[in-house]
């Protein structure tokens, strides 16, 4: 009995973190695969026929949920389970609970796979999952919070490093945002539903992907460069800035709909104020990196992190720009926005998570990466693939809005986008190939029966 228990709910140090990261890699393949499949259907709408599970909207639902809830969230939790104990110089409060959460989360993802591809959805963007799955996700999130909180409570260090602030903050507010945002058990009239929907839709980004992602960056960059963080004060400023300004911005997604003007004003103003935390955070990183940029040439995980920081800068300059009314009227509803979403989730946060996986897995398992060449290939495929995707979507968006501003009907103008759909599908294939190389690499390093020839890097605990 206890053998079975240990197998499934292992108590081994770092096992929860490792299992989370591995599951994240698995779901990333599903999620990105669904994405590239959907993008091919844009170019060739009759690619598959009469199979509801493969129709573009169903693929899209699954794509979004698999990459956000599956790949990014699971990866984030896995990274936190590795980083929080390291920063606190102790072990994770309960590995068993962590592994339990991991199974629950995988079950949730299997549920999502079975329901979303059949269109069993709540019809709310980013909150598509049905009631049962919502409850599961909320409970799983709460157990993660509990686990991390208890770990921090039993810490053996005095100071809380910034990353911990970010992690704790995110874990405190994200379950709340999630529960409010699902609206599963409430019935709100149309526009109120939209307001809360976008409160959630934006904050799953702002108060989960951004804050945890930035926390991971704060953890990784000083370690890679072996340099102390440039300024603790700046990092705290950034943290409080994000906490203050991110949450009310949601309404900028429906700036031109008939919701109250004061709400739009709050959203636009706080969107612009977001520049403050973003620039402080990045100043901090770039100053920490000062004189060390060259290391990125050899250190591939560092290169992922640097790229992520640069894309984060790009996304966050674009965001406030397009949240202003003057720009928003022009580019809203176009593919530009899709490009922006990918810049954040794929460019900035997927890259930092990839970097974290490259950093953490060897330290968790004591096995070096199977092949540096595959990492290099992964980097370039994803980097170039992402750039192509971003620019094709952005240009497609500008073409769309130029046509609409000329008064050309959408259904006529839609045909102009074929070249961009095509290029995007190509870039999607590149990204998925890169990710597949990543997963293969992880598989080989973890499971191939290879003598451990490298001296395992154990966890170092200096900050």
């Amino acid at each position: 009995m206890s053998g079975l228990l240990d197998k499934f709910l292992s108590n081994g140090e770092g096992s929860a973190s490792r299992n989370f990261l591995v599951s994240a890699l698995l779901w990333s393949l599903f999620g990105m695969g669904a994405g590239v499949f959907a993008s091919m259907e844009f170019y060739n709408p009759d690619l598959v026929h009469n199979i509801p599970q493969f129709s573009m909207p169903h693929l899209r639902m699954f794509h979004v949920n698999a990459v956000t809830i599956g790949w990014l969230s699971m990866g984030y939790i896995g990274s936190m389970f590795h980083m929080v104990p390291t920063l606190c110089k102790n072990r994770l409060f309960s590995e068993r609970l962590g592994n339990f959460t991991m199974w629950a989360w995988n079950l949730l993802m299997i549920g999502a796979f079975c329901t979303l591809l059949n269109g069993n959805t709540e019809g709310r963007e980013y909150a598509e999952l049905g009631a049962v799955l919502d409850v599961m996700a909320a409970i799983a999130l709460c157990t993660v919070t509990f686990n991390v909180l208890m770990t921090v409570a039993h810490r053996r260090t005095k100071k809380l490093y910034v990353s911990l602030w970010y992690f704790l903050g995110s874990l405190f507010w994200f379950p709340l945002v999630y529960i409010i945002g699902q609206r599963t058990f409430v019935f709100l009239p149309g526009l109120n539903d939209a307001i809360i929907g976008w409160f959630y839709g934006h904050n799953i980004l702002g108060m989960w992907f951004t804050t945890v992602g930035v926390g991971i960056m704060y953890y990784l960059i000083p370690r890679y460069t072996q340099a102390p963080l440039y300024s603790h004060g700046l990092s705290m400023l950034g943290f409080w800035g994000i906490a203050l300004f991110y949450a009310p911005t949601g309404t900028h997604h429906i700036l031109q709909s008939p919701v109250p003007e004061w709400l739009k004003a709050i959203a636009v103003i706080s969107s612009i104020f977001l520049l403050v935390p973003v620039l402080t955070v990045l100043t901090n990183f770039f100053m920490t990196m000062k004189g060390k940029w060259g290391q990125g040439a050899d250190d591939l995980p560092l290169r992922f992190a640097m790229t992520s920081a640069l894309f984060y800068l790009m996304t966050c300059l674009q965001g406030p720009f397009q949240a202003t009314r003057w720009i928003n009227w022009y580019i809203h509803f176009t593919q530009w926005v899709v490009g922006h979403a990918h810049a954040a989730l794929l460019g900035a946060f997927s890259f930092i998570l990839t970097s974290a996986v490259y950093y953490a897995l060897p330290r968790l398992t004591g096995r070096e990466w199977h092949s540096q060449g595959l990492i290099r290939g992964h980097y370039w495929l994803k980097f170039i693939g992402f750039l192509i995707m971003y620019f094709s979507l952005t240009v497609a968006g500008l073409v769309q809005s130029a046509g609409w501003a000329m008064g050309i009907a959408v259904d006529q103008w839609a045909n102009q986008l074929y070249p961009y759909w095509f290029v995007r599908a190509i870039s999607g294939i590149m990204i998925v190939t890169g990710q597949a190389m990543f997963c293969y690499n992880a598989y080989r390093s973890l499971y191939s029966p290879r003598p451990v020839d490298v001296t395992a890097k154990t966890r170092e605990v200096k900050v």
């Binding site: 639902m61 149309g190 539903d193 031109q256 919701v259 593919q335 609409w404 839609a414 986008l417």
Partner: protein
């Protein structure tokens, strides 16, 4: 920071968060309670024919909202009047949408006959060459009928109350200096029969090859075009103002073979053509743009089409 600082910090996080929840989540729920407007949609319009409420669920299940939006904006030219907050009171979950890969559906009801809608859902490319909308041929008959019913309720007579919502860009209107100068130079009376006659000649020479002698968009050239030339007999064009006609004729339709006639024709000639074009729209045409113009019994009765007729991949010959 000492241990005390953390406690302060935690209190800070918690209170910041709750202030924000209060101001952006709770306050709108309390302060923002629009009353239902006359143009709101309660999905009762087509209830005799099918079940629009169920159709709405099909709409959600099939994820139409990923490509179709449901709110009109100030700057939209072709989607009818602006929506009001009260129009949405029965819309839960909201279907405002985020991307206009396909056209806005706010006022879709009555824009096309149900028969067209069904054919379009089964195989969009059979009625709209080049469309990238996915085919929903796998929907059961009941799903399809309810979905079409739902589409026909959209807009709920909003279109009927509004006439001119298609407007030329500002530089053609009297309100701007450019537009004013344009009208100063214009000496053609676009309402006179004589001008229309003059325009007819120019039309036959320049436009008939594509738009057809009867202006039904079926001139000989149209065969080779993917985007078919406009059919000016559609009642839709009744709402076109002189400026709108003039603007379209002058600047062409980007993305189609419709030329920029300002390069070849003088301003005077273009005004003559406008005078002629104005006389073309007819009252009856297969497509109607307001729900009131459709005989509800005739129109909403759902089609007897079989899937085979529209299905390039199964049955029939191509």
């Amino acid at each position: 920071m000492n241990g005390y600082g953390y406690r302060l910090g935690a209190i800070g996080i918690i209170s910041t968060f709750f202030i924000i929840i209060f101001s952006t989540v709770l306050m709108p729920m309390v302060l923002f309670r629009p009353d239902p407007t006359v143009t709101r949609n309660d999905y009762q319009a087509e209830a005799k024919v099918g079940d629009p409420t169920r159709g709405r669920r099909v709409y959600i299940r099939e994820g139409c909202f990923y490509c179709h939006t449901q709110f009109t904006r100030l700057q939209d030219r072709e989607y009818g009047p602006l929506v009001k907050a009260g129009d949405y009171v029965y819309e839960t979950p909201h279907q405002l949408g985020t991307a206009r890969t396909g056209p806005d559906l706010t006022n879709e009801g009555g824009k096309y006959p149900s028969e067209w809608q069904k054919a379009h859902l089964i195989q969009p490319r059979s009625v709209k060459p080049g469309s990238i909308m996915p085919s929903f041929s796998y929907l059961s008959d009941k799903d399809m009928n309810d979905l079409v019913c739902y589409l026909q309720t959209l807009g709920n007579k909003r279109t009927a109350t509004q006439t001119a919502y298609v407007e030329a860009p500002a530089e053609y209107l009297n309100s701007t200096a450019l537009g004013f100068a344009l009208h100063e130079r214009k000496h053609v009376d676009t309402n006179a029969d004589a001008s229309a006659n003059a325009g007819r000649g120019l039309y036959t020479q320049n436009c008939a090859s594509c738009h057809g002698l009867e202006a039904r968009g079926n001139g000989p050239n149209s065969i080779s075009l993917t985007k078919k030339p406009a059919n000016f007999t559609r009642p839709f064009y009744k709402q076109y103002s002189d400026e709108m006609w003039y603007y379209r004729t002058s600047e062409g339709v980007p993305g189609t073979r419709m030329p920029r006639w300002e390069l070849n024709l003088t301003e005077e000639e273009r005004w003559y053509i406008v005078a002629y074009l104005k006389t073309l729209p007819k009252d009856v045409e297969a497509t109607v743009d307001s729900i009131d113009q459709i005989d509800p019994i005739e129109q909403i009765r759902l089609p007897k089409l079989t899937k085979q007729q529209y299905e390039p991949h199964s049955g029939g010959s191509e």
